[in-house]
Amino acid sequence: MGETMNYRQVIARALADELAADPKVIFIGEDVGAAGGAFKSTVGLHERFGSDRVRDTPISEQAIVGAAIGAAMMGVRPVAEIMFADFAGVCFDQIANQLAKFRYMTDGQARLPVTIRMANGAGGGFAAQHSQPAENWFLNIPGLKIVVPATVPDLYGLMRGAIRDDDPVLFFEHKNLFAVKGEVEDGAGPLPLGVADVVRRGADVTIVATQQMRHRSVEAAERLASEGVEATVIDPRTLVPFDDDAVADSLRTTSRLVVVQEAPQAGSWGASLVARMVTGHFDLFDAAPVLVAADDTPVPYAGTLEDAWLPSVDRIVTETRKLVSY
């Protein structure tokens, strides 16, 4: 038995369990304390753990990330919130030049167990500066781990795993999934980073997708199954480290790959995955892989425009059907 809750609620649950488990864990960010978070995802933490451990900050993204870095150097395990992932641009120096490189530049003189939480992604009508799938910005920076949970149990386990990880982790919570429900089992613990979830198995095609695209891909796979096309759907859950083996293993059966992402193609995790699979496992392919991606534009505002921008279930079905018939 477990407890059913939604994706928004499980954020506070995972944070609370790690704050309770380790007195070295602290949590800082804008309005995360007394206000309970801009998305109400951290309600109750301030009351339970106090303002020494759950700290409200000014609107100062550079100082928030920097404070987490310096505190981590000195033995604290900070969790920092950057509200909308788009605001990571404001503190890109702290993430890219300081957080990611410090351990390397000092040749291992310190570990930086910093977790940065951010609300990510499109689909909610927040328009271009509050909707970007920002996880792709960080793929080219060695030293950062990147987590993209899609479900309630994954968010719970991966959040706990991220906070316990001795490396910097960027943790992207998809704000279009806040209402998704799921169960956290009694006694559930941390999940390791870098292990994919094979959501469903089928012999005809492998579909790899994260966050809301995972849910759309599962729906597409069910529709395809009614037409007699059986898909394996893999959610890597973390982009760094990436579970390439899970994808390659599936390709040994299916020989066909569809990668679905809500970001534009250029410099994206999907483009990297396609490149790695083709260059490393060309012998497994019976057809050229397909990358179903968003358009190469900023995220638009109007519902009709944003719906068209994001890969839809229909589009995933159509592109997968085309690939399988090849």
């Binding site: 602290i26 000014p58 100082a63 310096g70 150097m73 702290q94 390397y104």
Partner: protein
């Protein structure tokens, strides 16, 4: 101060011999700021600094030979040859790292102070930075956050009057940078940065205030960069006579003259100390030159922490 001066002189020499890669940013003339502040610290306190940070790292007590080794890209360098001149760090003595992004270490130094407050270690966190860094956003965010949380932090402006090639007055609307402290509700203290005794006195006050839980202090130490910005800069933009005026106020000459004038040491004793330091620094450089470069495979180490 002599250790730093001779270290920097030697680095200049090593650079011209092509033994130091990339660039170097030397701090001859600014030694009193690093030494005066770091002498006011205790074991466990921490320090962050700029890419012009050799002096501050040495003032914290980093070994001279391994510091040379890092600049020379040697395996036994402080950072195994991965950091170089602009990223010199020795966490074992509290030197949390030089930073090559102007002002990029100010938020980090706030974090070290946060850890001290949260873990109740009593440690003080010092950040050295140049006058140019007072114009970047991270400066504002860092001082503001440190002040509202009353963190045990000290922010030390090494005002050497130039941000790279631009004179202070061309980039900054105030002449007394310590005045900026008023915006953050903390004391702003101006000190002659070429007077090591005065710097130490100011730093002791700031350390006492930080340890007492009264929050951060902004210190402006007025000093001068006797070399150009980096090795590619001869400093031709400096007005005639400016450098000479500052060399006449050289912090090391001033201290040794004062010591002799006070009768604490004789001129010969001062000279003997100077010669001993010079010999030690030269020996350290020779040792470091003899060390091997890292194996190419070492480049893969320490991107990630090993999982326990």
């Amino acid at each position: 101060m002599w250790t730093i001066r001779f270290f920097e002189d030697e680095v200049k020499e090593l650079f011209t011999r092509n033994l130091v890669r990339g660039s170097t940013h030397l701090c001859q003339g600014q030694e009193a700021v690093a030494v005066g502040v770091c002498r006011a610290l205790s074991a466990g306190d921490t320090m962050t600094c700029t890419y012009r940070g050799h002096g501050a790292v040495l003032a914290m007590g980093a070994p001279v030979d391994r510091s040379f080794g890092e600049l020379l890209g040697r395996a036994q360098g402080l950072c195994g040859g991965k950091g170089g001149s602009m990223h010199l760090a020795d966490l074992s003595v509290g030197a949390l790292g030089s930073n090559a992004i102007v002002g990029g270490h100010l938020p980090t130094s706030v974090g070290a102070a946060l850890a001290s407050q949260y873990l109740r270690t009593g440690a003080v966190s010092v950040a050295f930075f140049g006058d140019g860094a007072t114009n970047i956003g991270a400066f504002h965010e860092s001082l503001n956050l440190a002040s509202i949380w009353k963190l045990p932090a000290i922010f030390v402006i090494e005002n050497n009057h130039y941000g790279e090639y631009s004179p202070l007055e061309a980039t900054t609307p105030v002449t007394r940078l310590a005045d900026r402290a008023a915006s953050y509700g903390m004391p702003g203290v101006y000190v002659d940065g070429n007077d090591v005794v005065a710097v130490r006195a100011v730093a002791r006050d700031a350390v006492a205030r930080a340890r007492a839980g009264d929050g951060p202090t902004l210190v402006e130490a007025d000093t001068y960069r006797q070399q150009g910005h980096s090795r590619s800069d001869p400093g031709a933009y400096r007005p005639d006579g400016e450098l000479d005026g500052w060399i006449a106020r050289d912090p090391i000459t001033r201290l040794s003259d004062a010591v002799v004038a006070a009768g604490t040491l004789g001129a010969e004793q001062v000279g003997a100390i100077r010669d001993e330091v010079l010999r030690d620094v030269k020996d350290a450089a020779e040792r470091a030159i003899a060390w091997p470069q890292p194996e190419p495979e070492a480049r893969f180490a320490n991107v990630w922490a090993e999982r326990s």
